[in-house]
Amino acid sequence: MTDKEILDLFKSGQRELAFKEIVNSYSERLYWHVRRFLCSHEDTDDLLQEIFVKIWSSLPSFRGESQLYTWIYRIATNESLNFLQKQKVRAALRFESMSSIIEERIDEDPLMGGDQLQRDLMKAIQRLPSKQRTVFIMRWFDELSYEAISEILGTSVGALKASYHFASEKIKADLKKNLK
């Protein structure tokens, strides 16, 4: 079912059916999107529940000014970044470093496949500044177009391209340092 059909279904009063279609279309995509930010299956599972609660409660106020999928991705991205910000503050108050917590998660995650180099790549991504990390995840992992990312994040395409460039250069430098 297309986004337009889902919205038509919602407007016709079949709200729960429309929501069910949203879940079927987006749950898996959003799971991976959020998991790449949080690097934890359990946290992703919890946050995904909150994201879909928010989608359900905000859907009546969705005016269709943006596309449904950019609106949904915006909610998921904002919730993920807020979640990470809370964890970062919590870690700082406990005199812990958020990056070492995430690195530990990557190393100890039994659901994280791939070789050591891929784990190092994930760690390098997590070490990026928040904005560059967000753009990198959306462009490289989610394969979203710059135009779509621009609509989701409200940033110009030029700025996104620059962020992506800096992010990939930093990752390259980070990985080379590890290889030495």
């Binding site: 749950s27 995904l48 503050v89 005199f95 891929q118």
Partner: protein, 135 residues
């Protein structure tokens, strides 16, 4: 010379997994959100706006009454009148601390309260005494 993209392509996207059947159970849980959030409209739904309006009027009357009573109160009878005179010029966040033991006052704050305050006030970790590593 190898570009960043060459390196990324060579390494490939890191594989992450989930338990078998996870997405089926996830979808079932997510699909149940509307039924757990939607309550049937009953008598309460109809009465609620009127009750809210009545409560607002009652609150205005009570607050107005309390404010006016304090205005005409004899200040010489107030044992804290002396403290009141300088409470506002001492640079502390909450003058309430003057009247209460600061330790018991702050003891009521949980870590979660502090974290929520820091998050809501937009405090960045860089502004905290310990900023940790750049993340």
């Amino acid at each position: 010379m190898e570009t960043a993209n060459d390196i990324l392509e060579k390494i490939g996207k890191p594989a992450m997994g989930v338990h078998e059947g996870y997405f089926d159970s996830l979808n079932s849980r997510l699909e149940a959100i509307p039924s757990s959030r939607t309550s049937r409209p009953g008598v309460w739904t109809g009465v609620r706006p009127y009750l809210a309006l009545a409560a607002s009027f009652a609150a205005i009357v009570l607050i107005g009454n309390a404010v006016l009573r304090d205005t005409v109160k004899d200040q010489s009878a107030d044992p804290f009148a002396g403290i009141d005179s300088y409470a506002d010029i001492i640079s502390i966040t909450n003058p309430e601390i003057l009247y209460n033991d600061p330790e018991s006052y702050f003891g009521e704050l949980s870590d979660e309260d502090i974290i929520n305050y820091l998050i809501e006030s937009g405090t960045r970790t860089e502004h905290l005494a310990y900023a940790g590593e750049a993340y």
